[in-house]
């Protein structure tokens, strides 16, 4: 393999949703990339949200230093978490500007955004097996505000998969915001619309790129939650199984 990519895991894909990280590696390998995973820290957004500027700076500067070094041969940096992506790409810069931070910001992409770009260039591996499932897609705010809904276009490439509904509303979670006692009720009120839509859609899977959104949707619906990369990876595996058979 000659092409390389740097993966910024973020906390969720590392500690709570390792299947997201695994799927990312396998999907990228299917597309001919070797994945480099440098040792990084939390992106700093939770520290910002909890007014800890010092802690956010420490993490952000550490990450941008490490990522800039890893990407220095000209590699792009991908993330699977919308909030980490926003932090590295634009939110951190006004507070912790540096040459490294700007370099990293210019190289960071959302994983699905990147894969869709490959598809546009005719370089995306389409060896998908059939996945006859109904999917509800929830677009997290931190992708929504970057006008990124690439996951939908990618999932639609999977044979027999039906994206029955795309939701663009806020789920009210906002990282730890919706977990806090003072915000909990408000957060649930905001989520109610999505919960109702998920229940009405009668789907097999709710796909969303954000771990926090996934927890919120699951809390109100009990739905099976998958990151879009996990869906793509399953489709690749379905193809492999079909070939083996």
């Amino acid at each position: 393999m000659t092409k390389k990519i740097v993966y910024y895991t973020g906390c969720f894909a590392d500690y709570y949703g390792p299947d997201i990280g695994k799927s990312f590696v396998e999907v990228m390998e299917k597309n001919g990339f070797e994945v480099i995973v440098p040792d990084t820290k939390c992106c700093g957004m939770p520290q910002m949200a909890n007014s800890n500027l010092k802690g956010a700076r420490k993490n952000f500067e550490f990450n941008t230093r490490v990522l800039a070094k890893a990407a220095s041969p000209g590699y792009d940096i991908l993330s699977t978490c919308p909030s980490c992506n926003m932090m590295l790409r634009r939110e951190g810069l006004p507070f912790f500007d540096s040459e490294e931070a700007r370099f990293v910001a210019s190289r960071v992409y959302d994983a699905c955004e990147y894969l869709l770009r490959l598809h546009g260039e005719g370089k995306f591996n389409m060896d998908f097996g059939s996945m006859p499932i109904r999917v509800f897609y929830h677009n997290p705010c931190h992708l929504r505000v970057q006008n990124l809904t690439a996951a939908v276009d990618l999932m639609k490439l999977i044979p027999d998969l039906d994206v029955v509904k795309v939701n663009l509303n806020c789920c009210g979670m906002g990282g730890s915001y919706g977990m806090k006692k003072q915000n909990y009720d408000r957060s649930k009120e905001i989520a109610q619309k999505i919960w109702d839509e998920v229940k009405a859609a009668h789907v097999d899977v709710v796909a969303t790129d954000c771990g926090g959104c996934g927890l919120q949707v699951q809390a109100g619906t009990g739905a099976k939650i998958m990151h879009p990369l996990m869906v793509l990876n399953q489709a690749y595996k379905a193809f492999k199984a079909r070939e083996a058979a």
């Binding site: 695994k22 007014s51 800890n52 929504r144 915001y177």
Partner: protein, 432 residues
């Protein structure tokens, strides 16, 4: 009466627009592109932001040429309210418009001074005949669909006043936040959705026009575009406001007609911390045209609106915190949608964060806040003890303790910890 600045009242009408849009006589190149409007607005507002001191001076000089008005400059809301109370004299009844400056900043001080304030707008909604109300609402809802056609033409000048008439005068004061005011000739613009502004201008014994930095433009043409743009970009926020409000209503039309020979117009230029904010890194806030487009997709907006009765927008929320009349900005969940919606692209989420971070440079963070600010440490600890840690965080007594000590609500859906993290998987030869 001596001369007064020209007062223009802009009003929307979807019906007229529909006719024009459908007309074969409207050539495509005569319709303004919405992106061009945004660019022009950015130019206008950037000019004000970068030259605000000279523009305030120019405005004061322009207004000084009119013998029929009295102009004053108020440092803060308290000073402005004291002036208005003095002008009101023995009148204790005030009609106010739905301006953020008047409602959010001035109203508490006006009420504290003893003036009874009512928003006439809501009374007019209440008094609408059913059929007409329905038509008005339908008319409004059809306006957003005009984007990309000739929406800007939907907001025309419906009324121009060169003097204030006297036959309808009643004994109350009108405190009206202007929508725009031109520095070069002092002309005043209002965006009117009901007839509240016209009626106040026709009826109030004493009229107090309130302007602040973000309402000033260089020229009359700019003030007109500013005012129309408030309507264009703020349409859906206006519509969102059409929810039942628990506000006290008062029918000014039932007041007896009094002698209108000595009607007065005063102009208050209110600073209320704006000059300080311009110097403190918040000058982009004054690119704002107060359209409240930023409120359109704000997930917490309706909650704040209902709780506080303020004219809500994320920008007003931030301004309220910076001016000291709101205790925090921690209602915001930092979704970033306000930034996307803003026609002049003010980075409100960044400014909200900045204000919060600056606040905590001088204030101690609660220990609950400290507990939650490093999820990675919590994740590492949970991982070490998984699956025991997951089991424990599902136990009701533990959940209660967590709520007490970390502030995490006991019913929160917490993620499960796993002993085998992604990095373990990667370093362990990718074996599941």
């Amino acid at each position: 009466m001596d001369s007064i600045p020209i007062i223009h009242i802009v009003e929307p009408s979807a019906e007229q627009s529909k006719h024009r849009a459908a007309s074969i006589f409207v050539r495509k190149d005569h319709r303004q592109n919405i992106d061009d409007v945004k660019e022009r607005l950015k130019d206008i507002r950037s000019n004000v932001r970068d030259n605000y001191a000279s523009l305030v001076k120019e405005l004061q000089e322009s207004l000084g040429r009119f013998g029929g008005i009295t102009v004053t400059h108020a440092i803060d809301a308290k000073e402005a309210a004291a002036y208005i109370k003095k002008v009101a004299g023995d009148i204790n009844l005030a009609s106010i418009n739905k301006s953020n400056i008047v409602i959010n900043e001035l109203r508490p001080e006006l009420q504290a001074s003893g003036l009874k304030t009512y928003i006439r707008y809501y009374t007019e909604f209440k008094n609408f005949e059913e059929g007409k109300f329905q038509k008005k609402v339908e008319d409004y809802w059809s306006l957003p669909g005009m984007h990309g056609r000739n929406l800007i033409e939907s907001f025309g000048i419906r009324k121009t006043m060169y003097k204030i008439p006297s036959p309808e005068t009643r004994n109350f004061v009108a405190v009206l936040g202007v929508n725009a005011i031109a520095a070069d000739d002092g002309s005043v613009f209002f965006l009117q959705h009901m007839s509240n502004i016209s009626r106040d201008l026709d009826q109030a014994k004493k009229i107090i026009l309130v302007a602040s930095l973000e309402k000033i433009t260089k020229t009359r043409e700019e003030a007109l575009l500013h005012t129309r743009s408030m309507g264009i970009f703020g349409l859906e926020s206006i519509l969102l406001d059409l929810i039942p409000h628990d506000v006290e209503k008062y029918d000014f039309d039932t007041l007896p007609i009094v002698d209108g020979q000595n009607r007065e117009i005063h102009v208050v230029i209110l600073d209320n911390g704006r000059s300080r904010l311009m110097e403190d890194g918040y000058k982009d806030l004054f690119l704002c045209i107060d359209c409240r487009a930023c409120a359109r997709q704000c997930p917490v907006g309706q909650h704040l609106l209902l709780e506080r009765g303020m004219v809500y927008s994320p920008k007003n929320y931030l301004l309220g915190f910076l001016q000291g009349w709101l205790p925090s900005v921690e209602y915001c969940l930092h979704c970033g949608r306000c930034h996307v919606e803003c026609p002049v692209e003010i980075d409100i989420p960044m400014l909200l964060w900045r204000s919060q971070l600056e606040h905590y440079e001088h204030h101690k963070r609660s220990w609950k806040k400290r507990m939650l600010d490093d999820p990675e440490i919590l994740a590492k600890l949970g991982t070490l003890a998984a699956p025991l840690s997951t089991w424990m965080t599902r136990l009701p007594p533990v959940k209660v303790l967590m709520q007490v000590f970390t502030g995490v609500h006991r019913n929160s859906n917490l993620p499960a910890f796993t002993r085998k993290t992604f990095r373990h998987w990667l370093k362990g030869g990718r074996r599941d």
